[in-house]
């Protein structure tokens, strides 16, 4: 190679921040450029429904330190929407007509909230950006009644922040139990009771028939009746931002299709994070919306471009913090209906773990307040150590001793 290659990251979010750090740590020497359409550099998106929604502090919010960027030849261009990648001329074209040289490109455009068709106005909210979160925070105040549509992670975090700020909250979902799609009904039920204890109201198990926003409020109608709230927060998932990929001629399905190394159908273009439908060596093609996955995929690309081809093959991991309760999941995307579920501890008391077993091997785990079980689960899955359901359920068995027994056998 005669000259160092230039890498351009499209989208200034979690992937971008993790990628430039990983590339430099692994010794990649070429210029690194980040092009983002938001007015700021990358920030901690999870805080938007947690710390930042509860209060306006900036502590820990920013992901890249300008001084570090300056010292490491990382150029950040904010307010610069990208039109498309032109691999043939090794360049990235900006919406304003400009063009940036790019030997390698990492597409990291994330996703945008799904909207309710035809429902809009000042009282309707979604949360993806800092501006969204700041606008919503002003509405979460005593005397206001806030509706939340969708009882997944985002919706339940918003509910927790809203009651924390003294607002009244009612959460709607067609599912009968909150979070059940994410972490299973047992943990969902326990966390639902926690929310109810804090005053959150639930309207579950009923499809939404209509949502009508007027100048005076938002009326949500289900089979059980109509309900009016001051503001409605729509938390019904995201759509991947695939436009740049489509305009660049990349293969796109449910996200930009990438191989195990996160390479798209064009070898000089990678994609990672919420926008990428990754061919995971363990689970097959999956598009996952977790910070840790975005960071790990970015780290793998960082190593690859620094000269050590690396795949992302770990089980997907995520967390959510609600009130002072910590919930984590590992490998949940890979669960099959006939996997055996085993509970450890007391889930109803918000202190336990659920494991999923297949043929004597662990495939997944979800926990409330027992993150240490997840660390061990990660090793059990990674090393494919056989475990029995009785051992996992028995609190007399220390989980980390299941790892030791392997070492003795090995």
């Amino acid at each position: 190679m005669t000259a160092e290659q230039t890498v351009v990251v499209v989208g200034a979010g979690h992937v971008a921040a993790a990628l430039v750090k990983a590339a430099r740590r692994r010794g990649f020497a070429g210029p690194l450029v980040i092009l983002g359409d938001e007015p700021t550099g990358p920030y901690q998106r999870p805080m938007l429904s947690k710390e930042r929604l509860a209060g306006a502090g900036e502590s820990g919010l920013w992901l890249l330190d300008p001084q570090w960027c300056a010292a490491n030849d990382v150029t950040l261009r904010t307010g610069s929407p990208v039109e498309r990648v032109d691999a043939a001329t090794s360049s990235v074209l900006l919406a304003d007509g400009g063009s940036i040289p790019a030997d390698l490109v990492v597409l990291a455009t994330g996703g945008r909230p799904r909207q309710l068709p035809g429902v809009e106005g000042d009282r309707i909210h979604t949360i993806r950006t800092l501006a969204d979160s700041d606008r919503l925070r002003e509405r979460l105040a005593p005397g206001r009644r806030i509706g939340v549509l969708g009882a997944g992670f985002l919706g339940t975090e918003v509910a927790a922040a809203a009651v924390g700020r003294g607002a009244e909250v009612v959460v709607f979902d067609v599912a009968p139990v909150i979070l059940a799609r994410g972490v299973g009904a047992d943990i969902g039920t326990a966390v639902q009771a926690l929310h109810a204890g804090k005053g959150v109201q639930f309207r579950l198990g009923q499809g939404i028939e209509s949502v009508r926003a007027t100048a005076d409020g938002v009326t949500v109608t289900t089979a059980a009746g109509a309900e009016t709230v001051d503001d409605l927060v729509v938390c019904i998932g995201i759509e991947p931002n695939t436009e740049v990929a489509v305009r660049s001629g990349l293969v796109v399905g449910n996200g930009v299709e990438v191989d195990a190394e996160c390479r798209t159908s064009v070898p000089t273009v990678f994609a990672a994070g919420d926008v990428a439908a990754h061919d995971h060596p363990r689970y097959g093609r999956l598009r996952v919306e977790h910070v840790d996955v975005a960071q790990q995929q970015a780290a793998a690309i960082g190593k690859t471009i620094a000269g050590r081809p690396t795949t992302f093959a770990d089980p997907h991991w995520f967390w959510t913090d609600q009130y002072d309760i910590n919930i984590q999941g590992l490998g949940l995307g890979g669960i099959r209906p006939d996997d055996r579920m085993v509970a450890r501890g007391d889930l109803s008391a918000l202190d336990g773990t659920v494991f999923w077993l297949r043929g004597g091997l662990l495939v997944a785990a979800a926990t409330v307040e027992r993150g240490e079980d997840v660390s061990v689960a990660r090793e059990l899955i990674d090393l494919e150590i056989p475990v029995r359901a009785e051992q996992l359920a028995d609190e007399g068995v220390e989980l980390d001793e299941l790892l030791d027994s392997e070492e003795v056998n090995a």
């Binding site: 502590s59 820990g60 991991w317 002072d324 910590n326 027992r370 993150g371 660390s375 790892l403």
Partner: protein, 126 residues
């Protein structure tokens, strides 16, 4: 000046490899890793969970809160901001574990603590 306090016996660490002790009013985590005893702040620089509630894997300490991996020697988390204070440790011939009352390396904030003052003072979670 640093003094040494006798906080535990080595044999208390042989089975579970970890133990919380209090040094100067501050929770300190002892870990026995590959035959060596390490002492770090027990309160995680991220969000104040206890490292002693976590696990030891491949010589690293994994915090139960959000799975940050700490190097027990430096107190640094892998790829994350901040640093746990580390404390000087001596193990006597009779197996007494002594910890110095002044950190060997200081705590550095991660900027992400829920209650930075509490974490810095090292008091327990309420």
């Amino acid at each position: 000046m640093s003094e040494w306090v006798h906080v535990a016996e080595l044999k208390e660490l042989t089975r579970r490899k970890k133990k919380q002790v209090i040094v100067d009013g501050r929770p300190v985590a002892l870990f026995l890793i590959d035959g060596e005893v390490f002492a770090l702040d027990d309160v995680c620089v991220h969000k104040e969970r206890f490292l002693t509630k976590g696990t030891i894997l491949d010589g690293q300490v994994i915090c139960p809160g959000h799975q940050w991996k700490f190097d027990p020697r430096s107190g640094r988390p892998e790829d994350q901001p901040g640093c746990q204070a580390t404390w000087p440790v001596q193990v006597s011939d009779s197996g007494a574990v002594l910890v110095g009352t002044v950190p060997a390396t200081p705590r550095e904030s991660s900027g992400l603590e829920d209650t930075p003052d509490v974490a810095a003072a090292g008091s327990e979670r309420p």
